[in-house]
Every structure is written in structure tokens, then in C-alpha cells.
Symmetry: C2
Subunit: 193 residues, 2 copies
Amino acid sequence: MPELSTTAERTRRSILMAAVEVLGVNPGAPLAEVAQRAGVSRSTFHRYFADRSALKAAVDELAQQEWVQAVQNARLDDGTGLEAYRRLCGRLMESLPVLVWWMSAAGSGAAEAQESSWDEQNALIAAAIQRGHEDGSIDRALSVEWISSLIWSTLYAVHFIPPESRTGLSPFEAREQAMRTLLKGVAAEPPAV
Amino acid sequence: MPELSTTAERTRRSILMAAVEVLGVNPGAPLAEVAQRAGVSRSTFHRYFADRSALKAAVDELAQQEWVQAVQNARLDDGTGLEAYRRLCGRLMESLPVLVWWMSAAGSGAAEAQESSWDEQNALIAAAIQRGHEDGSIDRALSVEWISSLIWSTLYAVHFIPPESRTGLSPFEAREQAMRTLLKGVAAEPPAV
DNA sequence: CAAAAATGCGACATAAATGTCTCAATAGTT
DNA sequence: AACTATTGAGACATTTATGTCGCATTTTTG
């Protein structure tokens, strides 16, 4: 990973963000489209990322970092299991775009190398949910695996909800309602919301 | 829509189902892959569907029918809004594959002609949710639009939950937990689950 | 069994995306 | 201003999916 000048670093970022946006919605989109979204010529694009797999690898790493960071920030060891879960989901919504990319784009390809780190964080989450089962804050009828999956489908819903077209929800409202629904659904009864 | 012999009809179905499976996971997959999944040669495939768009149109129509049928079967006018919502979600899970295809594959293309029918059913659903707000069975803090979106993200979660690998949930358990979570989350408090 | 229908195989031409390269122009630095 | 880094434009060969066809084979039907 050679160091880059400020200019180069900037366009690199630009391309990566464009990739997240474009490939997040349509993983098979032509690379030219990514370049265009980044405001960069096809030549320049390939100067930074030789081919599709190189690009995906780079975004993968970005997503990876974001993911680990988010889980760390959630301080999963503090408070009840449900509180930890709430913090986690709230924090993950801050990183919506990359995570959504992870769901849609990363899947349609070979297994990425960072599986280990992925599993690590997942273990932390599972532990928090488990704790929630034990401390009575999380519904025991719902399996750890399911509650874990729920995070992703909720992110999916928040991201793909039709944007503020007249009757639409603002992004903020969407997140708020998502959190409310999620926590109510997951909490042990009586609801501690 | 010319009539087909029983044999032809069978292979046609076969191709359509293969398309749902393959393109549901990866909308950009080669048509050859669809043909293979259907157990049919590439030649035969093109004999039934001239090109990609023809295939997508056909699956679209299939999904459309399934969707309308499901909404009808849910008898959205009966009982409280929440009860109607429960019936709807339960019924939609019966048609998981096509609906998931609709989410992932249909999106990445031109707007399909059947928009009208889509909106019709959606209006029915919105009405039921609205009724739930009024009869006190559905949480008034959650917007109709959000509750409507929730259906899809839940279907997404149920479909893409990692299949029964050791610790995994059975499809049945997944649906059960999904329903529980969803209804708890959407119900007005105190929960009527 | 004989006619008809459906299929598979393989060859082809075509289109689109990809990746590489060269060269001139532009932007940034000292 | 001179120099360097970064970029854009375009040409090019390559690959991959696509769609079409003719012909032989199998399957279904009557």
C-alpha cells in the first residue's frame, strides 16, 4: 500500500465512494459508470484500480474498517444486552452506505479474505444478545441468530425506503421508526422501550 | 400469449422457476446459468424466451400474479388492522422466492408495466394499516409507509438468513420468529401478541 | 409404428465491457 | 516560470455474454 499524494488520495476516495453508491445498488454495473459517478475518466479509474476485483477488494477493506469501528464504538459490554443492541444498531446506521454495499455487492463474488474479522465482531454481537437473553432484556423466544440477522434487514429497509417523495419519510424519521420497531420487536415483554 | 402443449408448459415453468432462483440472488447472472439450472440447453431456453428482457417480463408477470393473489387471500378488510397485517405477512411468506426476486431483480431495469396493479394492492395495504392506527391495534408512532416497507425487509431477512448450517434456524423457525418480531414491533402497546 | 413436437449440439456473428497503452493537456508544486 | 504529477481522450485487442440458425436426436402423440 504505497503512500499517495494528497491529490491522488482525494481521487482515490472519490472513486471508492462512487463505487459504494453505484455497486451498492447494482453490483454488475459497468466500471465506466463508477468512473463517471466519481467524475473521473475511465483511464484514471484504471490507474487507481486495475480491474473490478481490485476495486471490490478496496471497498471491502473500507467496509471492513467501518464495520469493526462501529462494533467497537457500540461498547457491547456495557449495560443490558438490549441497550448494547440499541447502541450497535444506532451506530451502524451511521455507516449505512458501506454496509449496504456489503450486503448486495460483496455477496456476489468470491469469499473475501477478512472472514476472520467478520466472525470476530459477530461473536461479540452474539455475546451481547446472549447476555440480553440472560438479563431478561431481550426476548428469549427469539434466537441469537435471528436477532443478529434482523440488524441487516433493518439497515436494508432504512436504506431502500423510497426517498422523501411527497409523503415520504425523511432519512431521520426512517431511522427513528426503524429503531423503535426493532427494539420493540426484540425486547422481552413487557417492553422496556 | 399462445397456448402451449403440456410438455412445453412444463419446461416453460421450469425455466421461470430457475430464473427466480438464479436472478433472485444475482440479477446479472448469465442466461446460460438460468438454462443450466432449469436443466435445459441454451438453445431451448432462447426458444422460450428470446432475450433477457422477455424473461424478466415473464417472471414479472408471474410475480405480479402471486402478489395480487397473496394480497387478496389476506382478506385485508377483516378484523383489526393488525390482524390483517399479520395475515398478509404470513401469506406473503408462502410466496417468498418470487417476491424476493421482485426486490432484487426487478429493480435493476426499466419500470415494469404493471405499476398500476402494484399501486392498487399497496393502497389496500395502506388502508389496512391505517385502520390499525385508528382501531388502536397498530402503533401510531410508526408511519404507514414505514410499516409497509417493513414487510419487505422482513421477507428479505427470512429469505437470506444463512440456511440451516448446524446452529441455523429451519425455514419454519425463521418465519415464526420473523412474524413474532414483526408483530411485536408494529403492534400498539401493550402488545396484543 | 409413424408423424409431429421438443430438444441438444455446435457454429456464427454481434454487442458490450474490460484492460492496456500512448500522447497531449491540465493542475499542482517549488 | 520551470518542473512534475495527474488527468483525459482515444485507439486497440480481448473477453464474455448474447441471440440466431441449421441439423441430428430424442420424446411425445396419435
